[in-house]
């Protein structure tokens, strides 16, 4: 029995590594998250209205999911302007989240820091020039400025509160948001062109991404319009829906003793452990899951890009890394177009941004959000003073944990079979996990 450890893995929000156990002809991998997040012990005993700020430690989108859960707890509806401000924040966060992943992808075969990277580009061994990465960085800087205006701070926003947002958008801020929104779409389209040129059309090493794929599995998305969580079957059909308050009747989190990240799966369906693709309870979330719903994109240029994807890779559902990266491109265009549409004086300005809450309407509340990283869900249980007794959070990392384990196992088996060096296998694993 040989034990191999590869890691830490690049670009993962949680500190993670892959532990490999090799015995004769068999090889077993463990995608292991080595530090706990333990948000429930951060939240228990806190006044419930503080949770949007505390839970933003998971990601900025959890700030918003938490505010939605508070709306439900206090039984208050945010005024339309507040809803638009929150939605605009989601779009800015989508831009930042997806652009960062694409930036990592494009700089994956080089040290992104300066001199050597430049030399590698000149020598033709690296696909992406430095100034291109800087350009993406500049676009992200603008999106972050928008997120700071809308959320009060970035990357841990502050403004979403029960019943709306804590302050209206000032005139001067609205004008800046409109400017940023105007300039984001050209950046998004430029990113699309870079993606097409450097990844799809280049034939360079990154093209091997095409090979990274898993067997079909189900996916989960949240539709704000229908106010329903949609479980789409592995073949793209047979979707079932349920409401946020039924989430824990449908999904459950399992723990394995070797990782701090739980595995969320569909209750009552077979579960054969995290490296078996035979489990009916398996599902995943995120941009590719949204693409697999086979619905048209919300905006024209994003829809054009989605159709381009479908024409190139075939109709959804898709389970390849390249399709997952491509769906980031579709959504970054969509986020820019929606931002442009939202950043009008009529939609973003106005002093009515909060409905004041009084006491919690009950002792439980549920909330769901389709975040840039995927469907997320919160449940709070509070006492009569609104102090948190218990918290359940399903986040994209634990929902995609089984998929990550599957992908890792596949890459490890492939490396073992073809005698690939482990450092190369590490790079392939990192690239395959990045878009999920």
């Amino acid at each position: 029995m040989a034990n191999i450890s590869i890691g830490p893995l690049r670009w993962q929000a949680e500190p993670s590594r892959v532990e490999i156990r090799q015995s004769g002809e068999s090889v077993r991998s463990y995608y292991q998250v080595t530090a706990p997040r333990d948000v429930s012990s951060m939240c228990k005993g806190r006044p419930v209205e503080e949770l949007p700020r505390i839970l933003s430690i998971l990601s900025a989108s959890h700030h918003l999911a938490s505010a939605v859960t508070l709306d439900n707890l206090f039984g208050v509806t945010p005024p339309p302007t507040a809803k638009n401000i929150r939605d605009a924040l989601v779009q800015s966060l989508t831009f930042i989240h997806h652009a960062r992943k694409l930036l990592f992808l494009l700089s994956s075969s080089q040290n992104p820091f300066g001199l050597r990277a430049e030399l590698a580009v000149r020598a033709g061994t690296s696909p992406v020039a430095h100034h291109v990465l800087d350009e993406i960085g500049h676009a992200m800087a603008l999106a972050q400025e928008a997120a700071s205006i809308l959320g009060g701070r970035h990357p841990h926003p502050l403004t979403a509160v029960a019943g709306g947002v804590s302050r209206p958008v000032k005139e001067i801020h609205y004008r800046r948001l409109a400017e940023i929104a105007e300039s984001s779409l050209p950046y998004a389209l430029r990113l699309r062109d870079i993606f097409r040129e450097k990844i799809i059309g280049s034939g360079n090493g990154l093209y091997e991404l095409m090979d990274l794929t898993v067997s079909p599995i189900a996916s989960i998305t949240f539709s704000g319009v229908e106010d329903a969580i949609v479980l789409t079957g592995a073949d793209g059909s047979g979707s079932t829906t349920f409401t946020a308050n039924k989430t824990t009747d449908t999904l459950e989190a399992l723990r394995e003793p070797w990782t701090h990240l739980p595995f969320v799966h569909v209750k009552g369906k077979t579960w054969q452990g995290p490296i078996s693709d035979q489990s009916e309870g398996l599902f995943f979330v995120g941009p590719l899951a949204r693409l697999n719903r086979c619905k048209p994109a919300r905006t024209p240029q994003a829809e054009e890009e989605r159709l381009h994807l479908v024409n190139s890779l075939g109709p959804a559902p898709h389970f390849s890394a390249i399709a997952a990266y491509w769906s980031l491109v579709v959504e970054i265009i969509q986020a820019s177009e929606i931002m442009k549409d939202l950043c009008t004086e009529e939609k973003l300005t106005g002093l009515e941004v909060r409905t004041i809450a009084s006491n919690p309407g009950g002792q439980h509340a549920h909330g769901a959000l389709e975040a840039p990283e995927g469907f997320i869900y919160h449940h709070y249980q509070v006492d009569e003073r609104g102090i948190v007794d218990d918290v359940t959070v399903l986040d994209a990392a634990s929902e995609n944990n089984a998929l990550r384990c599957l992908l890792t196992q596949k890459m490890v088996e492939d490396a073992f079979e073809h005698g690939k060096p482990w450092d190369r296998a590490k790079k392939t694993i990192e690239l395959s996990l990045l878009p999920f």
């Binding site: 333990d38 503080e50 040290n111 820091f113 050597r116 972050q144 804590s166 302050r167 701090h260």
Partner: protein, 326 residues
């Protein structure tokens, strides 16, 4: 000028501190003129073996709190290898929000049993309490904030890595920094050891809200009122920690209409943030009647989790003095 060997690492926290370095006005790539990133697992995939093989580090930016045995090991290794170690962000500096787990010792550790099958890998053991970096090894400088604001990240990079040779975008930061640090940053010399890259006074000093020395009759919670946009939040009955917190952010939260929760740690003259808040708040009660004061005090909820939101492990004097909790 030779390039400095720089490391960036996060123990238990989130990746926002590291992303904040990547995001410094999108000039991070230009840092390559001054910095050679020798060890950066999140971005470069560097391994601990790479660190062992590398030359001594000039500067290490350490983010995240110390939650597991491997966090502790990382702190010791990086301290040993680095000329300058920076506690980067509230988690490293004071224990941050992960430190709230100290109010519920046991927490997740109870869920992580030892592996049942012999083959499966073990997890690094959890410490019984979350600690700040400074409680494990000495840090040379502290950069507070959750995450630290961009201008301070520039200031510290300028000071420790570029030694004033880059185009500085630090005018605001320098204007709020204590004079010895600001002068050192501008002169391209190292600031005094132990410096905190933030202001000296309390957040109130840079908060735009007006204090009218008004007293409050009842305590309010953030979901219950839409506070007057120009007036001090504390005087409107909301618990605002700005009075006990080191300035530097310019009053980001209060500017956005929500109270400060202390992510910059206690202000220079404050001994214990909780004690400071209790005395500040009780002197703001609009009564001298003992019974009424008791009634107001009973309205307050979760003082520990509010006053030590980011600082429980490192700045709660009560916990520091209880040996059995260390």
């Amino acid at each position: 000028m030779t390039r400095k060997n720089v490391a960036v690492f996060t123990a238990t926290g989130c990746k926002a501190c590291e992303n904040a370095i990547l995001d410094i006005h999108y000039q991070v790539s230009s840092l390559a003129r001054w910095a050679h990133f020798t060890f950066w697992p999140y971005v470069l995939g560097s391994s601990w073996e790479d660190l062992e093989k590398s030359d001594e580090l000039d500067v290490c930016f350490f983010a995240g709190a110390i939650r597991t045995a491997s966090d502790e090991e990382a702190a010791l290794k990086l301290r040993q290898k680095s000329k300058i170690l920076v506690a980067f962000g509230a988690c490293a500096a004071f224990g941050g929000m992960p430190g709230l787990s100290n109010l519920h010792p046991g927490g997740e550790s109870a869920l992580c049993k030892s592996p049942s099958d012999d083959d499966c890998p073990e997890l690094p053991p959890l410490r019984s309490r979350v600690a700040a970096l400074q409680q494990i090894v000495q840090a040379d400088y502290i950069l507070p904030g959750c995450s630290p604001p961009q201008n301070y990240i520039w200031a510290i990079l300028q000071s420790l890595v570029c030694q004033s040779e880059s185009a500085a975008r630090i005018s605001f930061a320098a204007s709020r920094l204590p004079q010895p640090i600001a002068q050192a940053v501008m002169a391209g010399v190292l600031p005094p050891g132990g410096s905190i890259f933030a202001g000296e006074k309390a957040v109130c000093a840079s908060c735009a809200r007006i204090k009218e020395e008004k007293r409050f009759e009842s305590f309010k919670r953030i979901h219950q009122i839409d506070p007057d946009p120009g007036r001090c939040l504390l005087e409107q009955g909301l618990l605002c920690q700005g009075i006990a917190t080191r300035e530097g952010c310019g009053g980001l939260c209060t500017g956005a209409g929500v109270p400060c929760r202390g992510c910059f740690g206690k202000a220079g003259a404050v001994f214990d943030p909780g004690a400071k808040m209790v005395s500040a708040v009780s002197s703001t009660f609009d009564t001298t009647d003992g019974e009424e004061m008791k009634k107001i005090a009973e309205e307050f909820v979760d003082l520990a989790g509010t006053f030590y939101r980011y600082t429980m492990p490192a700045q709660c004097a009560l916990l520091q003095n209880r040996k059995e909790l260390k």
